[in-house]
Amino acid sequence: MSSLNASLATALSGLIAEQGALAATTNNVANVNTPGYSREQAVLVASDPVVVDPLTFGTGVTLQSVESVRDPILESQIQQQTQAQGQYSTLSAALQQTQTNFTASTGDIGTSISNFFDSINQLSTDPSDLSLRQGVLTAAGSVATAFNTTADALTQQQGSLDLSVVQQVGQINQLTQQIASLNGQVASLQNVGENAGTFIDQRQQAIDQLSALVDVSVIPSDTTLTLTTANGAPLVTGLKSFQLTAETNAAGLHDVYSQGNDITSQITSGQLGGTLQARDSEIPQTQIQLDTLAAGLANAVNGVQAGGFDLNGNPGTALFNPPAVSGVGAAADLSVAITDPSLIAASSDGTSGSNGNAEAMYALNSQPVVGGQSPTDYYSGIVFNVGNDAANASTEQSASALVLQQLNDQRASISGVSLDEEAANMVQYQDAYSASAQVITTINDMMYAAIQMPTLTG
């Protein structure tokens, strides 16, 4: 049999449940601008009924839980896209910087090579003229300077990217520590059946930040998460985080180690992936091309020099200091070997008025002396490669940014706090609370009426 007391308890359950639901709404409103926050939803269920044969009475409402609303599959897509975005934005920024060394200017390599050959053509018109010979030496010096400057800029950029590697490894370690500690907090709440939503949000936020840095693979377990790099190097297992280390290699750059293993080449995504790609692949590739051009040009010019005679009738000596046989460092080290303009071997017959060898040297500008191409064509190839790589990285970056934006939209459409919705919920919970309170007032009146009732034995 139902009683007024039972009804009072039922009404009270309504008050409590609506208060709890309102608390969730309040928390949502408070966190409307909190990054990574997933809205909470009060889960109300009807309490178990009481059977008083032959009737069944409800016993009110229970606030079963407050759940954070999120889509784990979407989260993992966002992580992947964040990795791509981190990689391409870093790579794109690096390549944008690289390509500024290859824009047309008065001192760029292409112009200096053109000017060098122009000066030889001018010398050809009057091979014994010392001022024209000096002009060739000056132009050769400018070629060397242009190569040196560009090679130095690339090396410097490589150095600053290396610094980024060290910093990014530090950031990764900080985040994995944070995630391991959040794993602990999530586990301790979930083990006692509490809602760990806030900590899960924070952990998700940290994983997103980590994804921007490195390719992370998330393996969820009951309460904690295991994080590894895409290639399986452990980052976080349960409550333990595994530090990555940056160790100096033979080239003076930093390699990334995990548990004593060099995993540098395995990191392909995230900002660290992008930084490593720029440092270890893109810039060296450009450096090799520059070295090939510098060595090819210097060797060809020196070769022609050796076949001619200088102003004094002596066999020509090297105009450029011979680059290393391997070609490595040719651009950075390129320098002019002679300071005496009379040593330019313009003559092909030993007389001062012969320009035969100057003509042979001039002809180099249209001969396949560098990788099967003329020096200018080869240089234009470098400009193309550098520009193309920068353009591709930029396109990839824009594309991944767009996808990431869409995914974030999707996440927000599921997990984001809507003030309209919260306002409606608030009104709803408030109304329900008022109604329950009204029920209690009525029961109170009924109780009073019952108490005031004259006794039968009176």
């Binding site: 824009t103 292409g110 053109s114 018109t125 009057d126 017959d349 001062s352 240089y379 520009g387 930029s394």
Partner: protein, 296 residues
């Protein structure tokens, strides 16, 4: 369906993208170039490198032509003077072959012919900016010096070398003829003049007649060789014209490859500005519209 309740990130992303577009457009308008960085259009940037090199070469060819022209013009006019001097020697020889002249008359002619000999040596030793023009490639060596022991009265000290200068992608020009070829082929003008002097001194009219014939063929030889310089000079002029045309073409090509399409860019810019204003307007409108506003 639930929608993303927070429109700001998308709106701000749109604003950022539009601002980027505006910046790119403004840069294009300011520079007049659509390729300001290699990544703007890698293929065009590479083409611009080759184009700039070609333009630089063409400018240089023009300068080299200018340098060569002066020397070839001087050589050409020196050769005209040589022909004139030889004609004068022929007249003097014809005069000296007259049997009625006595020895002192002939001696007077000898003096005049010797004067011509000196003049011819001076012309053959023409120097241009410190270089002997007719010395082959031995341009620092005086090509002709008087040498009484030589049958021609002079000695050629130059060589037979010639220079060619590249003055176009597929054009190079020989810029000199050595004195040995110009003045000493066949009997040679110096031999002819020396023969005339000897004939006049000995009074042998037959020898004088032979010398006059030699002079006449030497003059023809120099004349025909002088065509080399005339031809060369006119080739230089046509090459100048060709190079100017090519420079213009390269300029046009550069504009085609990398010039900003101003009407299009300005139209883009206007669109982008409108779009930016719209995005900003949207952000302004979005503010303060939620249900809480209406629950007061």
């Amino acid at each position: 369906m639930r929608v993303n309740p927070d429109p700001y990130p998308d709106l701000l992303a749109a604003v950022a993208q539009t601002q980027q577009e505006i910046q790119t457009d403004e840069q294009e308008i300011a520079s007049g170039q659509s390729v300001n960085l290699p990544s703007d259009n890698p293929a065009a940037a590479a083409e611009l490198v080759r184009n700039a090199d070609q333009a630089s070469q063409d400018d240089q060819f023009q300068r080299s032509i200018g340098s060569i022209q002066g020397e070839m013009q001087d050589a050409d006019s020196a050769l005209n003077s040589v022909t004139a001097a030889l004609q004068q020697a022929i007249s003097l020889g014809t005069e000296g072959a007259n049997g009625t002249l006595n020895a002192s008359d002939r001696q007077a002619i000898v003096v005049q012919v010797q004067g011509i000999q000196t003049q011819l040596i001076a012309l053959a030793n023409l120097s241009y900016q410190g270089n002997y023009v007719f010395a082959g490639t031995a341009t620092q060596t005086v090509p002709y010096v008087l040498d009484p022991s030589s049958s021609s009265g002079v000695n050629y000290q130059g060589n037979t070398g010639v220079n060619k200068v590249t003055l176009g992608s597929n054009f190079s020009l020989q810029t000199n003829l050595p004195g040995s070829q110009l003045f000493s082929s066949g009997t040679g003008m110096f031999q002819a003049v020396q023969d005339l002097i000897t004939g006049l001194q000995t009074g042998d009219t037959a020898s004088i007649g032979t010398a006059v014939n030699e002079l006449s063929s030497a003059s023809q030889s120099v004349d025909s060789q002088a065509v080399f310089y005339g031809n060369g000079l006119s080739q230089l002029t046509s090459q100048q014209t060709y190079l100017s045309t090519e420079t213009t073409e390269l300029d046009q090509q550069e504009t085609t490859v990398a010039g900003a399409d101003l009407p299009a860019v300005i139209s883009n810019l206007t669109t982008a500005q409108t779009s930016l204003e719209a995005s900003l307007e949207a952000i302004g409108q979005t503010a303060n519209t939620n249900l809480f506003e209406y629950l007061k």
